[in-house]
């Protein structure tokens, strides 16, 4: 399977600093996105730290036993996914420690959404309200649960998704990295098939752009970098109240290689 990916981050139309961080580690097929919070530039510190710690942890040679994860892990998940979860736990602890040591960093935190592909198995680890989506057969499916107050209220049937969209409490998170020495981390696994597309994004995208618009942009732009640009442009056209960060990943059949590169050549010519 061929994997093509591209990421892009934009400050938006309202804010002056960008607190989002992302990283694509092509050698590992590792994708990391984090949205920082906490005033005076410390949001950036937290999100950059999250991305860096996870990257280093996953890169390190040693296969760990999974002993550092204290809470229970579903028995059926792979060691790869467990490792990704440990990486997120590590990131949480380091942000928390840094905030303890440096009083000016008090209250900083970050969301994290990270995907790691091995062969066709996609490991997902997630905390906060950034999201991962899978576009398959034209259906856009969210792979993560938002850990926000409004999402929790929708899950409990207390408010409708429409009310959640209009709520003033959208920015209230129930979980984030850096708030406590330990954090509950959601993990999941999904098998990837050719022609799937993945999207990681910060809430700056999902608050500005509806899911049908996102699905449309991903289907219209087959080249990940063009899709990423289009999504950021949509968020800014609709107001751009927050930083917007997206990572788009596409999976193509090896058998389709000729056809796909032919098509890319075609689009390159137009430019």
């Amino acid at each position: 399977m061929q994997i093509v990916s591209s990421g892009l981050s934009d400050v938006g139309r309202v804010r002056t600093n960008n607190e989002d961080s992302f990283r694509i580690v092509e050698a590992l097929n590792l994708f990391i996105l984090s949205d920082g919070m906490g005033g005076e530039a410390h949001g950036e510190v937290a999100s950059a730290m999250a991305v860096d710690v996870i990257n280093k942890y996953c890169e390190s040679e040693k296969e760990d036993s999974g002993a550092t994860v204290l809470d229970e892990v579903p028995a059926n998940i792979s060691s790869r996914t467990r490792r990704l979860k440990n990486a997120v736990a590590q990131a949480n602890f380091q942000i928390f420690q840094s905030a303890q040591k440096n009083p000016e960093q008090r209250g900083m935190g970050a969301t994290i959404t990270t995907l790691w592909l091995k062969d066709t198995l996609l490991s997902i680890a997630h905390v906060g309200d950034s999201r991962a989506y899978l576009l398959r057969n034209g259906n856009l499916q969210q792979l993560t649960n938002d850990h926000s107050l409004v999402a929790e209220q929708v899950r409990r049937g207390l408010i409708t998704p429409q009310q959640a969209e209009e709520s003033e409490m959208q920015s209230v998170l129930l979980r984030a990295l850096g708030a406590h020495p330990e954090v509950e981390i959601d993990v999941d696994e999904v098998e990837i098939i050719p022609r799937d597309a993945l999207l990681l994004c910060s809430d700056g995208l999902t608050r500005m752009v509806t899911e049908p618009e996102i699905a449309g942009a991903l289907q219209a732009e087959m080249v990940p970098s063009a899709a990423a640009e289009r999504l950021i442009a949509l968020a800014n056209e609709n107001g751009g109240i927050d930083n917007v960060t997206v990572i788009v990943v596409r999976f193509e059949d090896d058998a389709n290689k000729g056809w796909f590169s032919w098509m890319r050549r075609g689009s390159a010519k137009k430019d």
Binding site: M37, D146, R155, G157, L158, T160, Q163, A179, E189
Partner: protein, 241 residues
Amino acid sequence: MAKLSLMFENKLVKEVPIGSRPVTIGRSPDNDLPVDNLAVSNYHARVYFEAGRLVVEDLDSLNGTFVNDLRVERATLHDGDSIWVGKHHIKVDATADAAIPWDTGRKTAAPKINETMVLDTKVRREMIQQAAAMGERAQFSAGRMKVATLVILSGNIDTKEFTLTNKLTVIGKSPMATVRLKGWFKPKMAAQINQRDDGYYLGTGDKVPRVNGTPITGTVRLNDGDLIEICGVRMNFIFRE
């Protein structure tokens, strides 16, 4: 508490409260509101809360379900409405403390929050408790998350029941599929179910599944009790407490 009163001409036949489970209406005696009349189907309609609204749903009855004068397949109910099945009608009383719209308490209580913030454990617990209390008044199963389950009715599958705990459940021959199909010509990914905040959605894969006998287009939200048919497998989608 919201309640339904089954009436025949002007006499009260039976009264039931509406809780977290749907109230079923029909000719069969195992309904919550049994209606002894040949014009009424065995399982005619049901009434339940959905996202804070009271909803009546016709279960493909022969003679139809009417809200006030209008024949409906599915409709939101308001206090004082009457649901007509055959010659009986059911009065809807949603006065006391039916679904309380969340924003009544919210507007004054919450200042506008622009910056992202995390609730610390204490505040979070309080807010969830407050929400849960509201849910209880609204007759929701607040606090208890309902678990979606697929029960296999027929077809070549070893496991008889699947709990949908993942965000994405794949039905197909793929070794990663939760509901694993067997057989030579079965597709790797026949269909998939996505868990969203407000429910479970069935989407097409390499095949188009049928829900309650109708092929789906795009994605459809699954309701408690739906019958899903795909690749010769029939299964029931249900919620367990």
